[in-house]
Amino acid sequence: MPLIDGCIHPYPDGDSSLRRMALEASELGFDQVVASGGSGDVPGVLRGTIISAPSVKEVISTLQGIPRGDGVVMVASGDLAFNRGVIGLRGVRVLKGIHRSPKGAFNHVAAREAETKGVAVELDLSPLVESRGVQRQRVISRYTDLLQLHRRYHFPFTLASNARSILGQRSVRDMVFLARLFGMEEGEVMGALSSLDSILSGRSPVQVVRG
């Protein structure tokens, strides 16, 4: 299963070109990256679209303008009603920035729906790297709660550096260590890094093989 960095933001959003970030990702142990911008056709890069909208209605109208099967559609999370509405939409693959949403914005009901619809929840590692003190403690606490829900309801996770520069990208090993801060085991990290591949190909992360 390919290891995928869930989201990067290349030039002009950041200071590094898409090709350079793809080169760096490959050196850091990733097989693919999801890029929310940049230009050119670069091997190992999946195109990502981020939808930030205040209501589900606006998300639907934005989704209509995106050709079906065109890359990874990610929606910035909101409150619980918004998140549940978004998870049910066809074409949405990832719920993004959950640590910025109010507490309770993703509960057991949303977790069940995410598992059924095959929508992943992104764990953004950039606040663990860049923030300090109470802000980082809150993110760790939020991710610990999400991990408990994940272990119970088995909805998919993705892990993303959300790097805007090669200086913000982290290796697979660094991600394993950073994810340990909120109790994620190495196997769970590898599962989260490779979950997008099965989501995009429509495969279930668990396959029954009969001999």
């Binding site: 590094s16 070109s17 970030m21 080169l23 090993r173 660094d174």
Partner: protein, 158 residues
């Protein structure tokens, strides 16, 4: 007081590489960044158990810690985004039990293949190409220098 080798506490040495390529940092600034990262992530008690110390030279540093605390040290190092006033990343290359072994695994300093001036968005940058298709663009201004990171195949630097 000197101790017998068998009584000395066990240490681990972590080799890290600095990014951007070619940057040289003051070892004291590197130590300050490592100590701050350890303290803010793990607190004073665990940081004293890690007990980090730094030796830095051109493009690299060896960070020493107590054996058993290297994973915590590497996690803390991965949260470093600045050393002094410079934006950097510290990439862990390897971990070893002896200084001798880690010195033999030094990462070769990347060679500059070509250097020329390029214009991007009305600004002039000094482009420096390294092996592996990497091109760093440096703009020196009044407030310090700004850097962009491109690849040799990118249209902007061709």
């Amino acid at each position: 007081m000197s101790q017998l080798p068998s009584q000395r506490e066990r240490r681990r040495y972590v080799l890290v590489r600095f990014l951007p390529e070619g940057i040289s940092l003051d070892p004291r600034d590197v130590y300050a960044a490592v100590a701050e990262a350890c303290t803010s992530l793990w607190g004073d008690t665990v940081s004293s158990e890690i007990s980090p110390s730094v030796m830095a030279w051109e493009g690299h540093a060896i960070i020493r810690c107590r054996r058993g605390s290297e994973e915590r040290l590497i996690t803390a190092v991965s949260t470093i985004t600045r050393v002094g006033d410079e934006r950097v990343a510290l990439r862990t290359i390897t971990t070893s039990g002896t200084l001798h072994a880690i010195r033999s695994r030094r990462y070769p300093r990347p060679e500059v293949i070509w250097e020329r001036k390029v214009g991007i968005g009305g600004r002039i940058f000094l482009a420096r190409a390294y092996s592996g298709q990497k091109v760093d663009l440096i703009e020196k201004g009044i407030k310090g220098q700004e850097m962009l990171f491109f690849a040799a195949e990118d249209g902007e630097v061709r």
